[in-house]
Symmetry: none
């Protein structure tokens, strides 16, 4: 079930029609408050969220959703007329999984929804997260590198999962904390460093290529090399 949060009725109709013909179940919501309520009453599998919504903006909705444990993993594609780099970054920062600029083709939206689903809900599709010679299985909660099983503590596991769901993307320490610990928890940023170190060493230390890149001043990302 996909929820479309879009205030312009025409736009919403077109989207609904197209998504339905692509096999998705669709609900719509005309404003921010209603969106939040619908999500609370019956959590959709996917949210297509307009940046500019009456009452509560898309950005704000995104931020709020990410604070609720249950909605941490709700896949969100943000839609907006604005195309500035800053906005894109901002959308990704508040936790959107992807971002589309109007006008866009419905085909592209459908394709992106599928792409995001493939990436963020591997458990649903029975997929595993893979990166380089790393395999992370969410179902069995096991990690394998280059064929060998690796033991990780819960925190390290979640951090690795967060990174693998966004390969190449740099996550700030704050983002990592949000994703691995949860919001509204106060932990020293430095603590992330320590866990990254533990993770690195569990992944093979100096014996194997380091897959976690330090991005000075920002955070960490998964990376080849």
């Amino acid at each position: 079930m996909v929820l479309i949060a879009e205030d312009e009725p025409g736009q919403a109709e077109v989207l609904k029609y197209n998504l339905e013909s692509s096999g998705f179940g669709v609900r719509t919501s005309p404003n921010g408050a209603d969106t939040l309520q619908q999500i609370e009453e019956d959590r959709p599998d996917f949210l297509v969220l307009d940046w500019m919504l009456p009452e509560i903006s898309g950005i704000e909705i995104c931020r709020r959703l990410r604070k609720i444990e249950q909605n941490k993993d709700l896949p969100i594609i943000m839609v907006t007329a604005r195309g500035e780099e800053e906005d894109r970054i901002r959308a990704l920062e508040v936790g959107a999984d992807d971002y589309m600029v109007k006008p866009y083709s419905s085909g592209e939206l459908v394709a992106r929804i599928n792409a995001v689903l493939r990436r963020t809900s591997p458990a649903l599709i029975g997929e595993k997260l893979e990166f380089a010679d790393l395999v992370l299985d969410l179902v069995s909660r096991k990690v394998k590198r280059d064929g060998d099983f690796i033991h990780l503590g819960p925190k390290e596991f979640k951090i690795l999962q967060a990174l693998m769901q966004r390969p190449g993307r740099v996550l700030s320490r704050r983002q990592i904390i949000d994703l691995a610990w949860g919001q509204n928890i106060y932990i020293e940023d430095r603590t992330v460093d320590v866990h990254i170190r533990r993770l690195r060493s569990a992944l093979g230390g100096d014996d194997k290529p380091n897959l976690i890149r330090t991005v000075r001043g920002f955070g960490y990302s998964l990376d080849q090399e």
Copy 2:
């Protein structure tokens, strides 16, 4: 390298010509068996696949490719004369990334290929700034020149970002400071010179064309000489 699987030679030629003038390397394949063989011998970066191919249909090729681990992520755009919703859904179901109905403009195909690549390439949704042979990716925070990755400190990165967001426009030292350091911060104008120097040298020094133009009395700008 893009592989075009298309049985009608004229069509294939036109596509090839257009893709090549957009900078893609192109190979072609006239039938299903040859397509699979070419992919096995030398995996292309992208597949443009006609639905109706002799010997083995496009749909069938798509299905088979998706079963092979190595080709799970090969981006595929399906091309067909049929435009029924059902076909569209079917194409996406068997794992195509996008779908185009004939007749279509080559421009649109190029645009779609780029859209799909943006989505599926390592950075996934990396928003990239480009100028000449420079690519700056805000999401993975990486800079590439002419194919080689370049390491920049945070300040140099931000300065380059500021310049690339306004290609050709001259930025005063003050503006650069505001953009890279933030407002209300006091540092010497001369410091910008030093960072520009570091940036130039990181971008290849004397080995490659200098992309940063000095505008005496004003500041700096990105420029192709």
